[in-house]
């Protein structure tokens, strides 16, 4: 799910809680209703007015609020598209890094391409004699996997609605423990085996312990933003590798398609679980759920420019949103209200240096499934690099289009459908059409 950094809903009166909320979701300032000019941070000036009217969509996730109070309206227009392109690149980089890690591992470590059993979520085997049987088995696997995901998402929504925050918190900590320690240990073991490096247990224990402990701290508590982002990328890559290893071929492709459709429905339909989640978070004026979300926001400080007592130009301390993760695509959200630094009142009339960075958020599930697609493209078949690269470019273009739509509609959007659709189309067409063509050309040394 793709969301902009939250800003306050334009209807909420500015109060301390909303300031805190905006502090917590790393948006530099909150939009206050009645505030004039510096309302638009959206990517296009023409969408500004639209955005203001649809303020009832009071999802803090969904708006981008730019600018500093007191900034001239004209000055903001020039920021809009530049920030739009910048957001896209801020997401391109982590997605690319995750895919690079996954592809590099797939191409070098044999373990992740060996067939070694299947997950319990995909019980039907694909070693069947006939094509029809195989297709049927993969569809059944997909149905089971998808229903598990739906059930878990609904369970999370129910827990969140009934405020069972401790349960959710505990669940998320358990899953991140598993990812950061167990899966990392396995990964490290396989990499060492591949490169034939000898390692003793005490050193291994030290390394894994440090890696895991720092990861837990960064993800669940506070840490430098870059470190947090790096850890999120690594756990997404680890999860994607697990999927690549344990999902049989045809099931993987069908699951990717089905997950995109589910993502589309869950985020856009009025009764979709993810949408209900977001709306519940909104109603309670609680911070956006930080679980499973990669945030590209940078440290920011907001200066107070207007001597307006109701202005929220409070100085907000640098804050890194807490991230939690789950082992599933279902977006769990953080249950507990975030611990926030109270905003320091700036003195009236003082214009502080303002350095604002808005960011976009992308769910970790999206990272995982993008990497699964590219990793599967790299793993299967003839080890063709063209297919991998084509899928990579297709996914990036899909992400670009999704971000464009996000700038237009300014509400949380599913990030999977367009990218996965492009990725799947390009995978199958490149593997079957382009590969023979390019191979024949390369063998005759013809260049087109």
């Amino acid at each position: 799910m793709l969301t902009f950094m939250a800003s306050d809903s334009e209807e909420d009166a500015c109060n301390e809680r909303t300031s805190l909320m905006s502090a917590e979701s790393p948006v530099p300032r909150s939009c206050q209703e009645g505030r004039q000019g510096p309302e638009d941070g959206e990517d296009a000036a023409q969408w500004r007015s639209q955005g203001r009217e649809e303020g009832q969509e009071e999802d803090p996730d969904r708006y981008v609020c730019s600018g500093v109070p007191g900034r001239l309206p004209g000055l903001e227009e020039e920021l809009t598209l530049k920030y739009g392109a910048k957001h896209v690149i801020m997401l391109f980089v982590p997605v690319t890094l995750c895919m690079v890690v996954v592809v590099a591992t797939i191409k070098s470590v044999r373990f992740y391409t060996e067939k070694n059993g299947q997950l319990i979520y995909t019980p039907f085997t694909e070693d069947t004699p006939s094509v029809g049987q195989r297709l049927l088995n993969s569809v059944l696997n997909t149905l089971i996997m998808l229903s598990v995901i739906v059930v878990m998402t609904i369970f999370l929504v129910v827990l969140y609605k009934y405020r069972c925050y401790k349960f959710i918190h505990g669940w998320l900590i358990m899953s991140s423990l598993m990812l950061l320690f167990l899966f990392t240990y396995i990964y490290l073991g396989e990499v060492l085996k591949t490169y034939n490096v000898a390692m003793d247990y005490p050193t291994l224990f030290l390394v894994v312990w440090n890696f895991g402990a720092v990861g837990m701290v960064c993800i669940h508590w506070k840490g430098p933003l870059v470190l947090q982002q790096a850890y999120l990328i690594m756990i997404s890559a680890l999860m994607a590798l697990v999927f690549i290893k344990y999902l049989p071929e045809w099931s993987a492709w069908v699951i990717l398609g089905a997950i995109s459709v589910y993502d589309l429905m869950a985020v856009l339909c009025p009764k979709g679980p993810l949408r209900m989640l977001v709306e519940t978070a909104q109603e309670r004026n609680e911070p956006i759920f930080p679980a499973l979300i990669y945030s590209s926001a940078m440290v920011w400080t907001v200066g107070m420019a207007k001597p307006d007592p109701s202005s929220q130009g409070a100085l907000q301390l640098p804050y890194d949103p807490e991230m939690e993760e789950d082992s599933c695509d279902s977006l769990g959200e953080s249950s507990y209200p975030e611990v926030l630094e109270p905003p320091l009142p700036g003195s009236p009339g003082e214009e502080l240096e303002e350095e604002e960075e808005r960011g976009v958020k992308l769910g970790l599930g999206d990272f995982i499934f993008y990497s699964v697609l590219v990793g599967k493209a790299a793993a299967t078949g003839s080890g063709d690099w063209n297919t991998t690269l084509a899928c990579f470019v297709a996914i990036l273009i899909g992400l670009c289009l999704t971000l464009l739509l996000l700038a237009v509609f300014k509400k949380a959007l599913p990030a999977l459908p367009i990218s996965i659709a492009f990725g799947l189309i390009f995978y199958f067409s490149t593997d079957n059409l382009v590969r023979p063509f390019m191979d024949t050309l390369a063998s005759h040394q013809l260049h087109i």
């Binding site: 990517d43 296009a44 000036a45 023409q46 004209g74 227009e77 020039e78 809009t80 598209l81 530049k82 392109a85 910048k86 896209v88 690149i89 391109f92 080890g383 063709d384 690099w385 063209n386 690269l389 084509a390 470019v393 297709a394 990036l396 273009i397 670009c400 390009f426 067409s429 490149t430 059409l433 382009v434 023979p436 063509f437 390019m438 191979d439 024949t440 050309l441 390369a442 005759h444 040394q445 013809l446 260049h447 087109i448």
Partner: protein
């Protein structure tokens, strides 16, 4: 085939493109996006041309022999035409996007068409080069002896140089093509299509590398000079640049640092 071959060929083929990317494109996010969209357009054109070739091959029932070579030649020529068509399509898209950008950002200057021509040409070139060469590169890391059956031992080097030339040529063609479209002058477009066909046709002469590679480089130099003049350069500006007398350039490079 050693790591030396791998790295050497990789840098021969992609060095100039990488340098251009790092120094001119990586700094501005909008340019990166236009580059990737350009690469995507080239990819679609490749997809269509592979489809055409595939269908043609299926129609002629996959027979082996000379017909395979003719089909390949047909495929290459069709592919060149489709690529140029998609270059034109990208031009139209950029024109529309430019107008959109202007209405959104009246204050900030939208990227000029010349810049977009350069970026799109580079995007086409990078994707084209990567697709032609990456599989060969990855094979060069593995075991084997080049030309053991009597083929030329310079297979990798030739492919690397040819890839480099194609990347640079795409960039120049992009500049010339877009300029022709802007000025509604159809001769540059025709010239671009013809030179592209010529360069591809020259590769049919492989493995006689002397002819194909040397002519490709000569064409590249000529196209480069033409693109330089089209993009607004002149002998005087070149002289001023070389003698470090170009005040505008010096100021600009100071500011961007």
């Amino acid at each position: 085939m050693t790591a030396a071959v791998f790295f050497g060929c990789a840098f021969i083929a992609f060095g100039p493109a990488l340098a251009l990317y790092i120094f001119t494109i990586a700094t501005d996010p909008l340019r990166i996006i236009f580059l990737i969209v350009g690469a995507f357009f080239w990819l679609i054109s490749l997809l269509l041309s592979s489809l055409v070739w595939f269908v043609a091959r299926a129609i002629t029932d996959n027979r082996d022999g000379p017909i395979e070579k003719y089909l390949l030649i047909f495929g290459v020529l069709v592919s060149v035409l489709i690529q140029e068509m998609f270059r034109f399509a990208y031009y139209r898209l950029l024109k529309k996007a430019n107008e959109g950008l202007k209405t959104i950002n009246p204050d900030e200057p939208a990227p000029s068409m010349r810049l977009l021509a350069y970026v799109s040409g580079l995007g086409f070139g990078i994707m084209s080069g990567v697709f032609s060469f990456v599989n060969t590169l990855s094979d060069s890391l593995g075991p084997g002896t080049v030309g053991i059956h009597g083929d030329s031992p310079y297979f990798f080097l030739n492919s690397a140089f040819m890839t480099q030339v194609i990347i640079l040529l795409h960039m120049f063609w992009g500049i010339i093509f877009f300029d022709g479209c802007e000025k509604k002058n159809w001769y540059p477009l025709l010239a671009v299509i013809l030179t592209h066909l010529l360069v591809s046709a020259l590769t049919f002469l492989n493995p006689q590398y002397e002819i194909s590679l040397v002519s490709a480089y000569m064409i590249m130099v000529l196209t480069g000079i033409w693109a330089f003049f089209v993009a607004g350069g002149s002998r005087r500006s070149l002289k001023r640049y070389l003698l470090c007398q170009d005040k505008n350039f010096l100021l600009y490079s100071q500011r961007s640092r």
